[in-house]
């Protein structure tokens, strides 16, 4: 008998940053903290440095840095900024 346990949906994140720019550095630290605290083991986080792969970021439609994209689960959503406002980030992610 299997008990219906709510399986935590795997969160897939991608954070677009611009090298070592202050806002980007802060965002990396902030998203790592949020993931560790709220999504524990059920998340993937990819960090993309736009300065290294600018054309890929362009193709992805990124405008400003830093930009966090959650492309799974759908719908895809985007949060811009240093992610310092944790409350605002979690609200956006439906947590």
């Amino acid at each position: 008998m299997t008990k219906a346990v709510p399986v935590a949906v795997r969160q897939k994140f991608r954070l677009y940053v611009a090298g070592r720019a202050p806002n980007s550095t802060r965002a990396v630290a902030n998203i790592k903290a949020i993931c560790a605290e709220h999504f524990a083991s059920h998340h993937d986080l990819e960090i993309v440095d736009m300065l290294e792969v600018p054309l890929r970021a362009l193709a992805d439609g990124i405008v400003v840095t830093p930009t966090l994209v959650r492309f799974s689960p759908l719908p895809e959503l985007r949060v811009i900024g240093t992610l310092a406002d944790t409350h605002e980030v979690l609200l956006a992610l439906g947590k």
Partner: protein, 586 residues
């Protein structure tokens, strides 16, 4: 106004905006940043796009367009009417970057443009871009929503452009709000500031451009009218600042010989003639006469009407004996009719100028030249009108303009001044209402460089043609029409009566004279008669005297009177010597 700077920017790059390159002596400064400011619908995006298109098409300078406000698709659709072939250019030479942030994007902390500029750098290198536009930077600024961040990012953009060696344009929408002041730092950090304005005067849209600053370059600081047509934005700038056009002494007919006489020979070639007057005073008729005469001399003539269709004008003029149709058929006369309402005044002039350039007429009619008569015309529009007229002068094109004007006295003073400045010959037509009639009167208000009649003439129209008649002035009143005819009849009548009276007088005198002669005759006859009678009388008296003497002799003899009695003896006896019986000697 020219602002000269000792250090001129060595290289400039064309914007493709006619007029703008002239007032900036070359266009935008290469490798520098220009801020284009203005309210909604001023043409900021058009300015930016046109510069990019000119760069890509003619200057072989590919470009990048960063759109913060409008979707790229929409920008391309809006610009499709300009014929710059943007869609084609967007494939290779112009890269459009959609920099809009979705409205439901969540903002959680500060952000920047470092990444974006990184992407754009890659793109610049890929296509070899030399120009870049950041369109609608105000949208980005309001998203940043922090004065420090705003300033920081704008400087980031500017420094990046400079580093990349790009010629940049930043457009910024400005409203009437305080954000104008808040974002004023933009104006200080760029090299050139262009301000676009859009206003509606009297139902007519009016766009203008002004350069507020241009570091290291001379520029004209005035407000220039701009227009948008199929080729994009153009700017009507002052042509030659100095009025140094060739003047001609050649006279050409006005089409009305008596008017030519009044002007002592006709209009000057290349002069500006203004025919003003109330509706229906035959302004178009004078224009038609001029056009007909020009065509008969074999000169290409352009007739532009802003009221009526060409066929209607042609038909109406035919009714007063002016035939334009044959000249239209031969191609010597081109008639063009359009509506003025709501159309930008400057667009009208630019359209006119293009027609003149295309058709190359020697004579031109503009019926009516409304800018000169409308009372609520923007001063810049009057400038444009003058520029257009100057343009005609430099080409020695003789132009007859009509202008709706009720009376010289009621005319707006500024308008009258404007007209007076530009018109070389000013003919005013008016109505004289008198004895239940309205008659047309023609006056030459001014005519530069020629002697001209100061008299009022009556303009008469009939199927036989147009003519000018002398008017009569009676008891300080100008007489026209039937009143003139009556006056003429009265004059004739009086003259006739005068003639009759003198005839009668002469007759009377003749009669009197004849009577006098007759009377002289009678009197002569009477005199003769009296003479004869007198002669007879004298004869009778003589005979009687003789008789008396002989009687006395007889008596003396009888009385034996002394012979020596002397002569007394003959006298009658006195008291002293009474005749007494002689002493008888015994």
């Amino acid at each position: 106004m020219k602002v000269h700077s000792p250090q001129a920017v060595a290289t400039k790059t064309s914007t493709g905006i006619r007029g703008f390159d002239e007032i900036t002596e070359g266009g935008l400064a290469k490798g520098r940043t220009t801020l284009v400011m203005g309210g909604a619908g001023c043409g900021k995006t058009v300015f930016a796009l046109q510069s990019l298109a000119a760069g890509a098409n003619t200057a072989k300078e590919p470009g990048i367009f960063v759109a913060f406000e409008e979707p790229v698709r929409q920008i391309l659709a809006n610009a499709a009417s300009f014929g710059w072939d943007l869609v084609n250019l967007s494939k290779k030479k112009i890269f459009f970057f959609d920099a809009r942030l979705s409205p439901d994007i969540v903002k959680a902390g500060e952000f920047d443009l470092v990444g974006m500029l990184g992407m754009l750098k890659a793109k610049v290198q890929e296509i070899g871009a030399k120009r870049i536009v950041f369109d609608g930077i105000d949208v980005l600024l309001s998203l940043l929503d922090d004065p420090n961040a705003e300033r920081r990012e704008v400087y980031r953009i500017r420094d990046w452009m400079s580093e990349m060696g790009l010629t940049g344009i930043i457009t910024q929408k400005v409203g009437a709000h305080e954000d104008e002041r808040r974002h004023s730092f933009l104006q200080f950090m760029v090299d050139c500031v262009v301000i676009l304005r859009h206003q509606v005067d009297d139902g007519t849209a009016f766009r203008s451009l002004r350069i507020m600053k241009y570091r290291g370059s001379s520029f004209s600081g005035g407000e220039f009218p701009i227009t948008l047509d199929t080729r994009g934005m153009s700017l009507s700038h002052r042509g030659p600042v100095e009025l140094a056009y060739k003047v001609s002494n050649e006279r050409i007919s006005s089409g009305l010989s008596r008017l030519d006489t009044m002007l002592s020979g006709g209009y000057f070639r290349g002069s500006i003639i203004l025919v003003s007057g109330a509706p229906g005073t035959a302004k178009s008729t004078l224009s038609g006469l001029f056009a007909e005469a020009a065509c008969e001399r074999g000169e290409r003539t352009l007739y532009v009407s802003f009221d009526e269709g060409a066929d209607q004008i042609s038909r109406n003029l035919r009714s007063v004996g002016i035939r334009l149709a044959p000249h239209r058929r031969s191609g010597l006369l081109k008639m063009f009719s359009t509506r003025t309402h709501g159309r930008n005044i400057d667009e009208q002039f630019i359209a006119l100028q293009e027609m003149v350039l295309a058709f190359e007429p020697r004579c031109l009619v503009v019926d009516p030249f409304s800018t000169l008569s409308s009372k609520n015309v923007h001063h810049a529009a009057v400038d444009t009108a003058q520029q257009f007229l100057d343009f005609l002068k430099t080409r020695q094109i003789t132009v007859v303009n009509t202008s709706l004007m009720d009376g010289l006295a009621t005319t707006n003073e500024a308008t009258a001044t404007a007209i007076s400045t530009v018109a070389d010959t000013w003919i005013h037509l008016s109505y004289f209402a008198q004895d239940g009639e309205r008659n047309r009167a023609l006056t030459i208000v001014k005519s530069r460089g020629m002697g001209h009649s100061n008299q009022v003439r009556e303009l008469t129209l009939s199927e036989k043609g147009v003519d000018l008649a002398d008017v009569f002035i009676s008891q300080g009143k100008v007489l026209m029409g039937v009143a003139r005819w009556e006056w003429e009849q009265r004059e004739l009548e009086q003259e006739k009566r005068g003639r009759l009276a003198s005839d009668q007088r002469r007759l009377q005198l003749e009669i009197a004279q004849a009577e006098a002669v007759a009377r002289i005759e009678v009197m002569k006859k009477e005199m003769d008669g009296r003479d004869a009678e007198l002669a007879r009388l004298l004869k009778t008296v003589g005979a009687a005297a003789t008789l008396f003497d002989s009687d006395r002799a007889v008596l003396k003899k009888m009385r034996r009177a002394d012979e020596d009695a002397g002569p007394h003896a003959k006298t009658r006896p006195t008291k002293k010597h009474p005749i007494k019986p002689a002493k008888v000697r015994r």
